[in-house]
């Protein structure tokens, strides 16, 4: 699995879009304790 951690809320949409452009079909977004997000390509 490939993930990006520490993603600010304002950038989550862009990172998800980048994963989609890379061909991802299953993406998980988790909120971290510090308010940032971890975006993981699951497929």
């Amino acid at each position: 699995m490939e993930s990006l951690t520490g993603v600010p809320a304002s950038q989550v949409g862009r990172v998800v879009q980048d994963f989609v452009n890379d061909g991802a079909t299953n993406i998980a977004v988790e909120r971290n304790a510090d308010g940032t997000y971890t975006v993981t390509r699951v497929d």
């Binding site: 490939e2 993930s3 990006l4 951690t5 600010p8 950038q11 980048d18 452009n21 890379d22 971890t38």
Partner: protein
């Protein structure tokens, strides 16, 4: 006139002799080099086969075997492990030469939950290496109480001339060849009495980061930098800190050898010691065969011990065609390890750890977790990708050559990929 011509003739003769001597020397050197290369190739092949056996168990081999490698050892490496795995496949092992620190990690008690004799006050592996009170008789260590491990067996073939120079650190093989009086044999090595111990990466990362915080001045020297190769292309040179988080220890090896020839050449380990080996076909007293066999084994073991005082080898079974031996190392040795790499950032901090599985199997860095951190180059690259339908394919192609396995998403958004983004812009001539 003579006074002028004589030295000229003498000089010409000297020149001829000198040329002939040079040619002879060159031939000798070429021959020696050829022999050296052949021997080096044999050694490299045997070392590689041994290391591949360890590697087959998803463990990085240690070569030569050593007792002095433990969890918490920190090394400086200049190439990522994905590239080192290629080197590993080519040469067989990775040199562990740049040790920069030895941490004494904490967290053993909670990880092992009191098992294997590990308590709050435990110092590993010291309590297994040097148990207190010190045993008066072998075994002198307490590795038997550590978590166990097992490895697949390693098969090999040895021919005359190689027995005395085997690259694997096992004395039983030349001993067995000597006893079989053969120069051509095949056999197998089974790592015996293997143990392992380690700590999870999540426990060790905060400890290595704390160490890094105290040593930023040292680490800053090894931050990433852009260099230019001979063809004028820019390359990003990165250094990594590698931390050992698990080691595998072997107490000895079991070696079996089968003679490939009826009676071949002879190789001796230490003193020459012809031994009459057991041959079931010659015995006429079946009832006493087992007793005789045990007596012969005992006799051969004593004979080997007397002939080769350095080797702690006992004979497990023997016949005229084959022999099996158990060799115990004086002290258990580390045969393999697992580690993780952390990239050194420009300010001397350490980046995220790269996942072990990816590193051992040679999977790309992008399979792991990257820390988010984009910059203006991310935006420039993104705009360039969107400008032309074929640009993404161009970038994919560039990535496959410059950072195999790295995805476009990771390149665009990864904090530690800033130098790679800069290089992509330059190479692809993105304005």
């Amino acid at each position: 006139m003579d006074s002028v011509r004589l030295p000229y003739v003498t000089l010409r003769r000297m020149h001829k002799h000198f040329t002939a001597a040079l040619a002879l020397l060159a031939l000798c050197l070429a021959g020696c080099r050829s022999l050296d290369e052949s021997r080096a190739n044999q050694l490299a092949r045997v070392a590689r086969d041994w290391c591949m056996t360890i590697r087959a168990s998803q463990v990085l081999p240690v070569y030569p075997l050593t007792e002095d490698l433990q969890v918490g050892d920190v090394f400086l490496v200049s190439t990522p492990i994905e590239e080192e795995v290629h080197e590993l496949e080519k040469n067989g092992f990775l040199p562990l030469d740049n040790v920069i620190a030895r941490l004494q990690p904490t967290g053993w008690q909670s990880f092992y939950n009191g098992a294997y004799g590990v308590g709050d006050a435990s110092v590993l592996p010291r309590q297994w290496q040097f148990p207190e009170p010190a045993p008066a008789a072998p075994p002198l260590t307490a590795w038997s109480t550590a978590p166990g491990a097992a490895f697949p067996s390693y098969t090999f073939q040895v021919k005359a001339g190689q027995g005395a120079t085997l690259a694997i650190p096992i004395q039983s093989i030349p001993v067995g060849l000597s006893l079989l009086q053969t120069g051509d044999a095949y056999g197998s090595v089974n790592i015996a009495s293997a143990s392992t111990y380690g700590l999870p990466i999540s426990v060790l990362v905060p400890q290595i980061n704390a160490w890094a915080a105290d040593n930023t001045d040292f680490l800053r020297q090894y931050g990433p930098r852009t260099t230019t190769d001979k063809k004028g292309r820019q390359q990003v040179e990165r250094h990594y800190v590698r931390m050992v988080y698990r080691v595998y220890v072997a107490g000895g090896v079991n070696v079996s050898l089968m003679d490939n020839e009826a009676r071949g050449g002879r190789l001796d380990a230490g003193a020459s010691k012809p031994v009459e080996l057991f041959d079931a076909g010659n015995t006429t007293q079946a009832a006493n065969a087992a007793q005789n066999y045990a007596a012969i084994l005992n006799s051969v073991s004593q004979s080997v011990a007397a002939a080769t005082p350095g080797a702690n080898v006992t004979i497990a079974s023997a016949s005229s065609r084959g022999i099996a031996m158990n060799e115990t190392f004086p002290r258990p040795l580390v045969v393999g390890y697992l580690g993780f790499d952390l990239p050194i950032e420009p300010d001397g901090r350490l980046g995220p750890p790269l996942p072990t599985h990816a590193r051992v199997t040679g999977q790309p860095l992008a399979e792991g977790t990257a820390v988010f951190g984009n910059d203006s180059n991310s935006g420039t690259l993104r705009e360039w990708i969107d400008a032309e339908p074929g640009n993404r394919a161009k970038l994919d192609d560039w990535l496959s050559k410059n950072a195999p396995g790295t995805s476009v998403t990771t390149l665009l958004n990864g904090k530690q990929y800033n130098l790679l983004r800069e290089k992509a812009l330059q190479d692809l001539e993105v304005q």
